[in-house]
């Protein structure tokens, strides 16, 4: 059994003054930083020479958080060590940090939340953040608002902190953004739809019914999701109850908002002041670094509330130099604006550095040009190299005359050169050493092995001393991630990639190269609004698989019910559950019931009265099922019956079944008339046209009979209204 909150845990939290708790999900649960993250967790990558996790701690400390649980999975030991060594672990830091190591099988934030629940870590409203947050927002204020809201509305379980920006903003990656629908007055989040760049999300779908209870809804596509959620204690338990929730946004928030069972509310807090952003991918790594250097995050800047140990001096033009006077700058080097240089780093003659971050103890050789690069500690760059828009790990040795064009990622301890010419977006790492290869280890997981296996195909000029392993472009092995983690979409989150070769333009909105297509849509345009619109509204939903599976499941379930003689209530409950599980429309369920009922009627040779009795028996027993599945639509029932009969051997029974349905009041006379009047009921153009037509004729006879009856109704009430 999972451990419940223990006495020890309780003593940490005294009831009278509730302390502010935060949970950091330190793992990224994705591979966007590969190969930088093969020997190091993402949260320990340095951003402006301080580990990302420390920026997150600093952000939380600014909000007055007193107790932090750091949920880590991969490289947990490293994270533990880092926490022990950080300034927050010193007495008097005011913040208590508890690392929680979850199982290796924790593959998603949802799993981590379930782990939090089973461990019973949180006891009150808490702040949930990802381990990649850089923020100076007063989260405590949001917590206060959240608690106030909870006093009046117990169902307000979560407040998402979002930040206003524009639709195109450097810290708002288009590969992984979202549309929020918020109530204009209360900021209640009414709908959440993730938007990804590839395959392009063409439509945003907002349920119509939201407008009924909220007359004014803001639809916002300009919000940066800061990944800061103020959650109530119910949140982890909701994850526990809904084991299929993986992602906090696309599963949990979306699930809570669309569920009609949970009845919980989520609110948004639109932060108008302050800065908050996540280092979700290499692109946002770059933009957050630039934001820090240009002081948007104040006071979280290198010369003020800097989370790393080193102090920096802020010089005109947003240049930051380590304050301990250990930086050696050659007389002829040029240091551009927005640059940070760590301590004990030596910059040689004629070096040019623009808008870059150089770690500690680095050596930059003479004549090298570095633009928009992020170089970690202890790295040596040779002379006359050219580096552009790349991230270079620590202890890298890039020898003379090498060039690293935009988008390259070079993992720790790689040796490249001399004279290496990388191509854009190359990713390099070292091979596994003996020890690692021996271990049945997941830390350096199968990816590296895979890469090693593929080396033979790759010919690159990496220089003769290189120990580098070149990662192939494109996805590794068979898996191409789901949702936003597909290969092309990931390119939108990659440093230095402008994705100009990926066509994400919407053929109906951006003409550009779809000129040919627009000439094709010429006719559509001229037929007027209706057709234009119908081509507009084609929800990109694929249901076929679900539907066929539902059909077979429903059939089995009904046959079982018929043969074992269940009650109608039980059988319909079972069907409703199935329908919910497969998320299919009601008509499909109706179709399933009708086909099962019709199929259950045994065919009596010779027809006549015995056949009629059989039909009456089955319809009496099971007919009501048609209306028990969650909605009554007798016209559709008749239509479905018609199609069912027309395409099966039970064609001759159509009239009798219809009569039986009429007898047991499942369909009324008016319904038959309505069906009869439908243009589709004549079956024109349908492949079973002939049979459909026959059915329609039978319907006509029946209606004639009704008419005749009506006229003589006054005389004889008890007329038989059998159709045949």
């Amino acid at each position: 059994m999972p451990p419940r909150p223990t006495a020890g845990k309780d003593s940490l939290i005294t009831d009278e003054d509730e302390i502010l708790q935060a949970v950091i999900l330190a793992d990224s649960f994705n591979k966007r930083f590969r190969p930088l993250t093969i020997r190091k967790p993402r949260c320990l990558l340095p951003v402006c020479n301080a580990p990302l996790l420390d920026w997150t701690f600093e952000s939380l400390a600014l909000a007055g958080v007193q107790e932090v649980f750091v949920v880590c999975r991969s490289h947990a030991e490293q994270i533990k060590m880092a926490i022990e060594g950080s300034k927050w672990s010193k007495p008097g830091s005011g913040m208590k940090i508890v690392p929680i190591v979850t199982a290796k099988e924790t593959f998603s934030p949802g799993d981590a939340m379930r782990d939090i629940y089973t461990r019973g870590l949180v006891t009150t409203d808490f702040i949930l953040v990802m381990g990649d947050l850089v923020s100076n927002i007063r989260i405590d204020e949001v917590v206060r608002l959240h608690k106030e809201r909870r006093k009046t509305n117990k169902d307000a379980i979560m407040t998402i902190v979002v930040k206003e920006s524009g639709a195109i903003h450097r810290t708002r990656p288009i590969g992984d953004s979202a549309v929020f629908a918020l109530d204009s007055k209360t900021s209640e989040c009414l709908h959440y739809q993730p938007v990804i760049a590839y395959p392009p999300t063409r439509f945003v779908q907002i349920p119509r019914e939201r407008l009924e209870s909220h007359p004014e809804i803001d639809i916002r596509y300009d919000l940066i999701d800061c990944g800061i959620d103020v959650c109530s204690v119910e949140v982890p338990s909701l994850f526990q109850d809904n084991f299929d929730y993986l992602d906090i946004r696309r599963d949990f928030v979306h699930g809570v908002l669309t569920s009609d069972l949970l009845m919980k509310n989520v609110y948004c807090h639109i932060a108008t002041e302050g800065y908050a952003a996540r280092v979700k991918d290499t692109k946002s790594y770059e933009s957050v670094s630039k934001d820090i250097l240009s002081r948007w995050t104040f006071p979280l800047v290198p010369d003020d509330n800097y989370p790393g140990g080193q102090r920096y001096e802020h010089v005109r033009g947003n240049r930051y130099l380590a304050k301990d006077n250990t930086v050696v700058l050659a007389r002829t080097c040029k240091i551009g604006t927005n640059t940070l240089i760590g301590s004990s780093t030596r910059i040689s003659e004629d070096v040019q550095i623009h808008a870059s971050v150089i770690g500690q103890n680095c050596i930059i050789g003479a004549g090298t040009i570095i633009k928009n690069c992020y170089i970690f500690d202890h790295t040596t760059i040779g002379a006359n190299c050219i580096l552009e828009k790349s991230i270079i790990g620590s202890n890298v040795n890039l020898k003379d005359n090498s060039s690293v064009p935009r988008g390259c990622l070079i993992a720790d301890s790689v040796i490249v050169g001399p004279g290496a010419k990388l191509e854009p977006f190359d990713r390099l790492s070292t091979r596994r050493d003996e020890v690692e290869a021996e271990l049945p280890d997941e830390e350096v997981d199968s990816d590296v092995e895979e890469v090693e296996a593929r080396q033979s195909h790759i010919n690159k000029n990496l220089g003769h001393d290189s120990n580098a392993l070149v990662w192939p472009h494109g996805p590794l092995s068979e898996e191409d991630g789901e949702g936003p983690e597909n290969e092309k979409n990931l390119r939108f989150m990659r440093i230095g990639d402008d994705c100009s070769d990926i066509d994400i333009s919407d053929p109906d909105t951006v003409s550009s190269e779809s000129e040919s297509k627009s000439s094709g849509s010429e006719s559509e345009d001229d037929t007027g609004y209706d057709t234009t619109a119908s081509s507009d509204v084609l929800p990109p939903v694929k249901r076929d698989a679900n539907e066929s599976e539902f059909r077979s499941e429903a059939k089995q379930s009904l046959v079982r019910a018929f043969s074992e003689g269940h009650s109608i209530e039980n059988a319909s409950v079972e069907l409703k559950t199935l329908r919910m599980a497969f998320d299919v429309p009601l008509s499909l369920a109706r179709e399933a019931v009708i086909s099962a009922v019709v199929g259950w009627i045994p065919i009596v040779q010779g027809g006549g009265a015995p056949q009629r009795q059989e039909i009456a028996r089955v319809i009496d027993r099971w007919g009501n099922m048609i209306n028990e599945i969650g909605g009554v639509d007798p016209v559709e029932t008749v239509t479905l019956l018609q199609t069912m009969c027309a395409s099966s051997d039970r064609m001759p029974l159509f009239g009798q079944i219809l009569a039986a349905l009429y007898q047991s009041d499942i369909v009324e006379e008016d319904d038959i008339r309505a069906w009869h009047a439908l243009p589709a009921s004549k079956g024109e153009g349908h492949r079973a046209e002939e049979n459909l037509k026959k059915c329609w004729m039978i319907g006509s006879h029946m209606l004639q009979q009704f008419d005749a009856q009506e006229s003589e109704e006054s005389e004889s009430e008890g007329n038989e209204d059998d159709s045949e």
Binding site: I217, G528, P539
Partner: protein, 490 residues
């Protein structure tokens, strides 16, 4: 001579096009009275025809030219009314579409047909809009004047909140008012999407908004419960666009939603952009073109991306074909939107007629007529409550009681009749002891003695016989054989 010329030029900036329809939702009030038509435009509201409200509103805004388009059958009645009773400075040009028409006549058909009569920017408006007192057409026109030069808006629309939760409507049995859901950019005041609410099957359970649109307008508001005032201030070029789309029938249902997309779908814009040239009669244009501050065509590369270049993603900026863009203006071709607060109405259904009348009655104070002749017709023992209107030459007999009602001219109210919450058009006769509650009587209706009718609407000339009791019906004249039905006039 010169002075006259200048004056003429100034006053003719806009032409108003009033569409006076059949008023089918107001049946039976708009059903024919014998051979005589009862146009919606002439239905009395507080004893003034609807058309007069609109005309005086137009007059206040300085518009001089009015093109009034009505059905052929209404033409003579309206013609008579305009020439005999309207006294204003407006030049009203009454036109009607010749009756035999090929299938499908819509507002667009009308506009196309009369497009050669419209030489300048125009205001399209219905005959039944009752503006709130604080709202003048001038506001809309000014908005149009600024928007057309700032970024080339094509149309300015005006929406008002429907009478929703304000009070419970007892009369919605006469048909609900049409609501629409609209999406608009709150900062830019641009209409982006109109929900085609009348087609539930087509719309499904969800709204679908294009991500491309949201990228261009990232901050939008989805509003429910607003109604279209059907007032559109349009560029002249809109008519040319209509002519380029000959199959479009309804301006509101088809053309406007289509035009909404023009704003963010650049292939449409390129296709029709040539039609929608900026209006040349905006007086500041020439000056603004020479201005260095005006973000006109000089600085910006193409019509498609020029309007909001800062929001355009750079990955598509290189793909703009630039063949035609050089000499074109940077038009947004957007639809501006003005949202009114409460108080506006369109008298397009029975319930809104009741509602508007109720609101007018809140602000009236009935006093006995000053004219001695009229005064003598009102018996001293009749009770007329303060919140009522009684037209001239109406006779109210002794101990009749009138509460919260509007009584037309030349009516006769019999002894001890009780009239509550009613609207009586002209020439109605209510005989002794009749009780009317929440009714609208078309003109020349006659209610027999001691009858009791509640929540009924009568067609003009309908007669209720004595001692009848009717509730909640629309009473229509079925038989016009007997001409003696005409009541005698005094």
């Amino acid at each position: 001579m010169d002075l006259d010329g200048v004056k003429h030029e100034l006053e003719s900036e806009f032409i108003a096009i009033i569409l006076a329809g059949f008023g089918n939702d107001l049946r039976p009030l708009t059903s024919d009275y014998g051979d005589e038509a009862c146009p919606k435009a002439l239905l009395p509201l507080a004893n003034r025809p609807l058309l007069e409200y609109v005309l005086s509103w137009l007059e206040q805004s300085g518009i001089k030219d009015v093109l009034l388009i009505c059905p052929e059958t209404h033409r003579s009645t309206l013609h008579h009314h305009i020439n005999s009773e309207v006294s204003s400075s407006l030049r009203v040009d009454l036109q009607s579409l010749p009756e035999p028409q090929d299938a499908g006549v819509g507002t667009c058909t009308l506009l196309r047909h009369f497009s050669d009569r419209v030489k300048k920017d125009f205001v399209l408006l219905p005959c039944d809009f009752i503006p709130p007192p604080s709202f003048s057409l001038q506001m809309l026109l000014d908005r149009f004047r600024t928007d057309i030069v700032s970024d080339g808006a094509a149309v300015i629309t005006c929406w008002y909140p429907g009478p929703n939760s304000e009070h419970n409507q007892p009369l919605d049995e006469w048909g609900p008012s049409p609501y629409s859901s609209i999406l608009c950019d709150a900062l830019e005041e641009t209409l982006l999407y109109i929900d085609a609410s009348e087609d539930p099957e087509f719309n499904g359970e969800d709204f679908f908004f294009r991500t491309a649109m949201l990228t261009k307008h990232p901050r939008t508001k989805l509003l429910g419960g607003y109604q279209d005032s059907h007032i559109y201030v349009c560029q002249r070029a809109i008519l040319d666009t209509l002519c380029a789309k000959p199959r479009c029938l309804s301006f509101r249902e088809e053309f406007l939603p289509w035009l909404c997309k023009m704003n963010y779908q650049s292939n449409k814009k390129q296709k029709y952009g040539y039609v929608l040239q900026p209006s040349l009669n905006a007086p500041q244009n020439l000056a603004l073109e020479h201005s260095t501050h005006h973000a006109g065509a000089h600085m910006l590369p193409s019509p498609a991306y020029a309007t909001r270049p800062q929001r355009q993603p750079n990955y598509s900026a290189t793909q703009i074909p630039s063949n035609r863009s050089a000499n074109e203006k940077s038009l947004s071709l957007r639809i501006g939107i003005v949202l009114l607060s409460a108080g506006a109405f369109r008298v397009n259904s029975i319930s809104s007629l009741f509602e508007v009348n109720r609101r007018i009655l809140l602000n009236v104070a009935y006093t006995l007529p000053l004219d001695p002749k009229d005064r003598s017709l009102i018996d001293s023992k009749a009770q007329i409550s303060v919140d009522s209107i009684v037209g001239s030459s109406t006779q109210v007999s002794e101990r009749a009681m009138i509460k919260k009602s509007t009584i037309g001219r030349h009516c006769k109210i019999g002894k001890q009749a009780r009239i509550t919450n009613c609207i009586l058009f002209d020439h109605c006769i209510v005989e002794e002891g009749a009780r009317l509650d929440s009714c609208i009587l078309g003109k020349n209706s006659k209610i027999g003695a001691m009858s009791e009718i509640t929540r009924c609407i009568t067609q003009a000339g309908y007669e209720v016989t004595s001692r009848e009791s009717i509730k909640g019906e629309k009473l229509e004249v079925s038989d016009w054989m007997a001409p003696s039905n005409f009541p005698e006039l005094e």
